[in-house]
């Protein structure tokens, strides 16, 4: 069955490509270049081979599922691996078909024949970009459909899958330390202890303050109740759960701990294991509420004679509310749409670099981008930077200005890569999390319009400034 699906998916892709190549589409030069790129990657075998690899890979996914595992775990595995496979193939394909595209035209001399025509230069980049977008879409749509059908096969009734809800994850406000919190804390400490905090360099004081506040906000001392505020503007729906993954410290890895929860008017004690995720149902009385306050008190280890001073929330998902929001299908579709947008940017970037680099170097550059982006841009690396630092005479030295400029550039690159990382949503969908429409909008605006637009404009400008005569021959 999966292999039959793979064959059908491949045929769908082939049909969509052939339609675009042969159908009497209206349009001028851009459409002609679009068709030429599709004809090139189809007839050279790039698209047929990529499609076959993609769909066969998906067809093999059910074989990695453990028979004994639960339905939900199988679903998560399928979605996780399936989306990783689809995104890997499509991103590499976007890079491959574009990063050598223009340099190939230059090396073969075809560029001369193209640009002597009236719209040769202006239509080249947009046409190739649209062609690569269509090529990606012809693979993405059947691959997503195939993945969904495969998921349906592991769920007891495939109709249930359409009703499968997704969840929104809500973190408590108090667990995140804001720059304002740090600022207030430092100001207070300086007033209270001018001989100690007042003597510290401002950067160092901020670093220490942040570290302390982080530790405080992420820990519960035994016997001290803590209030956690969860804001969810849409209002809680039925079936919301509080998800807890406590960290008891490395000395108490195998211990269990008790926590007292105050939810609304009721309170209950729960036993938690170190680093194991537990879910606690939120009573129906909270349905529709936008502000949920949960008070928790750490009661210590279950075993007598063991003393655990505090419990910590380690990681952003250690304490969160899971609220039903949207459906798994819509979340998957939005995630795939974001993938298509990211592929569009990769294609634009590939075209831009291919105006001045050959395929091997352009590919290397693109791979560097992927590796850097996969690291999430190391977001947070510059969190401790502050605008209001002390005036420093060295600020006016050229070397200092240059270093600051380079640092700003670095910060911009980190934030740029962070944006990319934030829009990689495959694993979130696999975990059942809802990908919001607002994320698609933001991905479309940032990656699809601004980044891809800038890359295409820059590429077109460089191409228009370039001599396409004897350059390579000489």
């Amino acid at each position: 069955m999966p292999f039959l699906m793979a064959t059908l998916a491949w045929a769908m892709m082939a049909l969509a490509v052939q339609l675009a190549i042969r159908a009497p589409l209206p349009g001028g030069a851009v459409v002609a270049v679009f068709r030429t790129l599709l004809a090139e990657i189809w007839r050279r075998g790039v698209l047929p081979v990529c499609g076959a690899s993609l769909f066969l890979g998906l067809a093999l996914l059910p074989s990695i599922l453990e028979e004994s595992s639960e339905e939900a775990a199988q679903l998560q595995t399928l979605l996780d691996y399936g989306q990783v496979w689809i995104s890997s193939v499509l991103l590499l394909l976007s890079m491959w078909i574009t990063s050598g595209s223009l340099s190939d035209e230059i090396v073969t001399g075809r560029m001369r024949v193209l640009v002597v025509h009236r719209y040769g230069k202006s239509a080249l980049l947009p046409g190739k970009w649209l062609g690569s977008l269509w090529a990606i879409l012809t693979l993405l749509v059947p691959a997503t459909a195939m993945l969904w059908i495969l998921c349906g096969q592991v769920v007891a009734s495939s109709t249930d899958l359409f009703d499968e809800p997704a969840v929104a994850l809500v973190s408590p406000d108090s667990i995140e330390v804001t720059p304002e919190d740090v600022e207030n804390y430092v100001t207070l400490q300086m007033l209270e202890d001018p001989a100690g905090w007042g003597m510290l360099e401002r950067d160092k004081a901020y670093r220490i303050a942040r570290s302390r506040l982080d530790r405080l906000s992420r820990s519960m001392v035994q016997g001290v109740p803590m209030e956690y505020h969860f804001q969810y503007p849409a209002g809680l729906s039925e079936g919301a759960v509080l998800e807890i993954r406590p960290s008891l410290g490395r000395h108490h890895r195998s211990e269990r701990a008790r926590i007292r929860l105050h939810l609304g008017g009721s309170s209950r004690d729960v036993v938690l294991r170190n680093s194991i995720r537990s879910q606690i149902e939120i009573p129906d009385g909270f349905v529709g509420k936008t502000d949920v306050v949960i008070t928790m008190e750490f009661l210590g280890a279950v075993s007598e004679g063991i003393r655990i001073p505090s419990l910590n929330w380690s990681g952003s998902d250690a304490l969160q509310l899971r609220v039903r929001e949207g459906s798994l299908l819509s979340s998957l579709l939005r995630s795939q749409l974001l993938l298509w947008i990211r592929c569009g940017f990769v294609a634009a970037l590939g075209l831009m670099v291919s105006t001045f680099l050959g395929l091997p170097v352009a590919t290397l550059l693109m791979l560097c981008f992927f590796i850097a982006a996969a690291g999430g841009g190391f977001t947070g690396a510059f969190d401790e930077s502050h605008g209001g630092s002390h005036p420093d005479a060295r600020d006016h030295e050229p070397s200092r200005i240059l270093i600051d400029l380079l640092a700003s550039g670095g910060e911009w690159i980190v934030s740029f890569l962070g944006d990319w990382s934030r829009h990689v949503t495959g694993s979130r969908v696999a975990a059942g999390e809802n990908v919001k429409v607002s994320e698609v909008y933001s991905g479309f605006t940032t990656i699809g319009l601004i980044w891809a637009g800038v890359a295409l404009l820059l590429g077109s400008w460089m191409n228009s400034r370039k001599e396409h005569g004897l350059g390579v021959d000489r």
């Binding site: 459409v31 030429t36 004809a39 001369r112 024949v113 025509h117 719209y119 004897l470």
Partner: protein
């Protein structure tokens, strides 16, 4: 010979004007590497066939690429149809056949012409008709749906001339137009050039094959070392006053010997005298024509047809 008296065809309208053209190729660090052109002056008039001759590296291709806007001049004045080369308006009035057949090998002949027509903004309604006409003209009507990668070199050359004409340009720049063509193709190419000239097109040819240039060009310039060494009409350049050529019907050996004696008696040196021979080109064409008439099949290019009507009507130049 197709060439006609220069004064008869020229209407003194300058189509291409080059003055003091200089082109220096620079390396990555912008240091001068090669001085390809040095003070080149050229004038090409409307409706003439102009030949650009010269050995390898003499600057022919560089000149052509500057006229097409593919290279930017380092110094000098270049105007095509009164405007700087490379502008969108000028591009649409020039057709270009590159030296090498550098077309997409995975596109069919039809698709390649459609791409060229689209890039040149030929109206959608006219494309199909023009492509069909041009494929017929270049003898590829039976191979339009085959991929160019499967074409022979000569067939690729033919598709090249078709793509250069798809937008009915006023100026045609042909770089080594007979490169890779069989004698039949060469003959057809010369015929097309002649017909295009009759229809008022201005044609610039760059070629190594001097005999071909001699047959089709009205005027030529010979480049060497990036400079125009000589320039003028074919008659002016080739005229020599120390030789005379007589061509008569076959008078028979006796009369021939008598004629030779009489001429030599007058003190005139007879350099060569003997029975006339046909050219190898004529013999080749005759043989191929005979094979075609006998119904021999071929997968190659067919017989080229006449120029399509959209390329204009023949003008009475006399």
């Amino acid at each position: 010979m197709i060439a006609i008296e220069e004064s008869e065809i020229r209407q003194e309208v300058e189509v291409i004007r080059v003055r003091g053209l200089r082109k220096v190729f620079r390396d990555f660090w912008l240091r001068p590497r090669v001085e390809a052109l040095r003070e080149v002056d050229l004038t090409i008039y409307s409706g003439e066939v102009f030949g650009l001759l010269g050995p390898n590296g003499s600057g022919k291709s560089t000149t052509i690429q500057i006229l097409l806007g593919l290279l930017f001049p380092s110094k000098g004045e270049v105007s095509v149809l009164g405007k700087p080369p490379g502008t969108a308006e000028i591009k649409n009035r020039i057709g270009y056949l590159p030296e090498d057949s550098v077309f997409y090998p995975f596109l069919t002949g039809w698709e390649m012409l459609d791409l060229s027509a689209s890039l040149a903004k030929v109206p959608h309604s006219q494309r199909k008709g023009r492509i069909g006409d041009l494929l017929e003209m270049v003898g590829l009507q039976g191979a339009g749906d085959r991929e160019i990668g499967d074409y022979s070199k000569g067939m690729q050359r033919r598709i090249g001339i078709a793509q250069a004409l798809i937008h009915d340009p006023e100026i045609l720049i042909l770089d080594e137009p007979t490169n890779g063509l069989d004698p039949l193709g060469v003959r057809e190419m010369k015929d097309w050039i002649g017909e295009l000239r009759q229809r008022g097109k201005t044609i610039l040819i760059s070629s190594h094959l001097l005999a071909d240039v001699e047959q089709v060009c009205d005027r030529v310039s010979i480049l060497y070392g990036g400079k125009v060494q000589t320039s003028g009409s074919i008659e002016e350049i080739l005229a020599r006053d120390d030789r005379t050529l007589w061509v008569t019907s076959n008078p028979g050996d006796e009369i021939l010997a008598e004629a030779r004696r009489q001429i030599e008696k007058s003190g005139i040196e007879v350099v060569s005298m003997g029975p006339g021979t046909r050219s190898l080109e004529d013999k080749f064409l005759e043989t191929v024509e005979a094979a075609r008439e006998s119904g021999e099949k071929t997968t190659g290019a067919g017989i080229g047809g006449k120029l399509p009507a959209f390329l204009g009507q023949p003008k009475d130049l006399r």
